[in-house]
């Protein structure tokens, strides 16, 4: 049984960049009774192990490393006197916003929250994603685990490396391992395009002459106790290995960078509706989930490649959580707003509902596309009327896109039924 039940206005689950930005903005919006719960021994989330540069150019107009970017937010939170608890893992959230956490210092504690911000980030797709028969020898790492080993523990996972999956962590680790003296034979990607940022392909692979094998996958892992070699084959359009294309790569390490999944077990427990596309909560214009007073932001909502956008989104979630508390739940259960429909190459949008009465003057709607598109237009329709039409030279699944909706536009149309975001050839 829990020892105590305290009451806090805003409880934030997760102390990564999303949780920190949400806390700071909730505070700046006037709610000072904030508690951040973080299971790790330090704040900053995944940024602590992302020691490469490339963070914050949009926000700070300079290029920071992950720990430096995190430090800016940690310092600001400290200035504001925002309370946080480390080593504290949230294990349950009820639909009534009762948060249950466990820590070795305090045991089980419960906090009744006026509003909750979910900022738990994401985790890597497990190695089950590697559908190869045979043993499970040592030497198979997820790229994120390897990153932690090298950058935080100072240990090298291996010397001769093959990487499966061209997600950003895999690309970053290809360079990191090369700089640390390992040989990276190749990065194999099953899709015909990379899932990572273009800049990472240039800086992490091209700079070092590491081949990126598109439409290739690992078909066999050799070795009983330790990886001895992997076999890589080309795949056809249905992603089936093509007979006769198999090549054997001797190696001691196989790294998997096959995607990230928002971490939403807690959200589900709370009764939060989860999108089958993003695997994150379905949210409205205020980033509120289907459970009132529970907001979501950052990688737990949808996987981001740019931390700047995480901070921006989280600041909105934090301010909205503060507003929710201030309005003392005055809002009615009312309708969830107008649906934002993703069509024609747009896989999903966040948010997926917009209530013009409740939105700010401008609302950023973020989305990802389903394929690589060249010279396509991003269009926004209010019912059947096209109100935005913007040409993009290149769009790819690995890079998040956005459109901005204006409140005035939506309010001007009475009886608006749907907002559509889609790609068009002309």
């Amino acid at each position: 049984m829990a020892k105590t039940i305290e009451r806090r206005d805003v409880v934030i689950v997760g102390g990564g960049p999303a949780g920190l930005a949400a806390a700071i903005s909730a505070h700046e919006a006037g709610q000072t009774d904030i508690l951040v719960l973080e299971r790790d021994t330090q704040l900053g989330g995944i940024l602590n192990q992302c020691i490469h540069n490339g963070f914050g150019l949009h926000t700070f107009k300079e290029e920071l490393t992950g720990p430096e970017y995190a430090a800016r937010y940690i310092e600001r939170a400290a200035e504001l006197g925002i309370e946080y608890r480390l080593g504290t893992m949230v294990i349950d959230i009820s639909p009534e916003r009762l948060v249950t956490a466990v820590s070795s210092a305090d045991g089980i504690t419960q906090v009744e929250a006026g509003a909750i911000v979910l900022a738990m980030g994401c985790r890597e797709r497990p190695r089950g994603a590697l559908a190869t028969p045979g043993y499970r020898p040592a030497g198979v790492y997820s790229a994120g685990t390897a990153q932690r080993l090298v950058n935080i523990e100072g240990q090298m996972p291996g010397r001769e490396v093959v990487i499966l999956g061209s997600g950003d962590i895999g690309l970053i680790m290809a360079r990191r391992m090369t700089l640390e003296g390992a040989h990276v034979a190749c990065v194999a990607e099953i899709m015909p395009y990379s899932g990572g940022l273009k800049r990472n392909i240039v800086q992490c692979l091209d700079d070092f002459g590491i081949p990126l094998l598109l439409s290739h996958t690992v078909t066999r892992v050799e070795g009983r106790d330790r990886v001895e070699a992997v076999w890589i084959a080309e795949v056809d359009e249905r992603m089936q290995p093509i007979a006769g294309t198999e090549v054997r790569y001797p190696c001691d390490t196989l790294m998997l960078s096959v995607g990230l999944l928002p971490e939403n077990e807690l959200s589900r427990d709370a009764g939060v509706q989860i999108s089958p596309v993003t695997r994150g909560p379905v949210v409205d214009q205020s980033l509120q989930t289907s459970v009132r007073g529970v907001f979501a932001c950052g990688n737990v909502l949808h996987v981001h490649d740019l931390v700047d956008y995480v901070s921006e989104e989280a600041a909105a979630a934090g301010a909205n959580a503060a507003r929710f508390v201030a309005q003392a739940q005055a809002e009615t259960e009312a309708d969830r707003g107008i649906p934002v429909v993703a069509e024609g190459g747009v896989r999903y949008t966040v948010p997926s509902f917009v209530s013009p009465q409740l939105m700010d003057d401008r609302l950023t709607v973020r989305f990802r596309v389903a394929n690589v598109y060249r010279d396509h237009f991003v269009s926004v329709y209010l019912d059947d009327e096209r109100i935005q039409h913007r040409k993009k030279r290149v769009m790819a699944p690995g890079e998040m896109e956005s459109v901005v909706l204006r409140r005035a536009d939506l309010l001007a149309r009475e009886g608006l039924q749907r907002i559509t975001v889609k790609l068009e050839e002309e």
């Binding site: 021994t41 330090q42 602590n48 020691i51 490469h52 540069n53 490339g54 150019l57 949009h58 290029e63 920071l64 490393t65 992950g66 720990p67 430096e68 430090a71 090298v150 950058n151 935080i152 523990e153 100072g154 700089l179 640390e180 940022l197 273009k198 800049r199 392909i201 240039v202 800086q203 700079d207 490649d305 740019l306 030279r393 290149v394 890079e399």
Partner: protein, 121 residues
């Protein structure tokens, strides 16, 4: 006159704009595809004098919380010196307390650029 076209990806920010640089007799005559001025200067520089920021981590002694402290070159170094810089870092250890921005190794490989800490320890 020798005209040459190079397709590059701007790496100055994660947007990664596709650039087209046209050279004539080794002189840059145009850069297109960039979204902001940084892209143009990157395009010019990348075909004449490419540079990179190098990041790594080094062991730290005497810290209660950290075994390693992350570091970077305080500014760009020539691209062909990346490995020299990394080699120079092989035997470097930091001593706690370390603050962000502290110089861990001055003037690495005679580049005039310092290696600075990017995390406190």
């Amino acid at each position: 006159m020798a005209r040459e076209t190079r397709e590059l990806t701007c790496i100055n920010c994660p947007l990664g704009c596709p650039l087209t640089v046209v050279l004539e007799d080794g002189e840059v005559i145009s850069v297109t595809g960039n979204t902001c001025p940084r892209g143009e200067s990157y395009g010019r520089k990348e075909v004449t004098n490419p540079t990179r920021i190098v990041t790594s981590s080094v062991p730290v002694d005497g810290s209660a919380s950290e075994r390693m402290v992350s570091v970077k070159t305080a500014s760009d170094i020539p691209k062909d010196m990346i490995f020299d810089v990394v080699r120079a870092l092989k035997d470097v250890r930091a001593t706690a307390p370390v603050a962000i921005g502290d110089v861990v190794l001055a003037d690495v490989c005679g580049t005039g650029v310092d290696i600075v800490a990017t995390k406190g320890a």
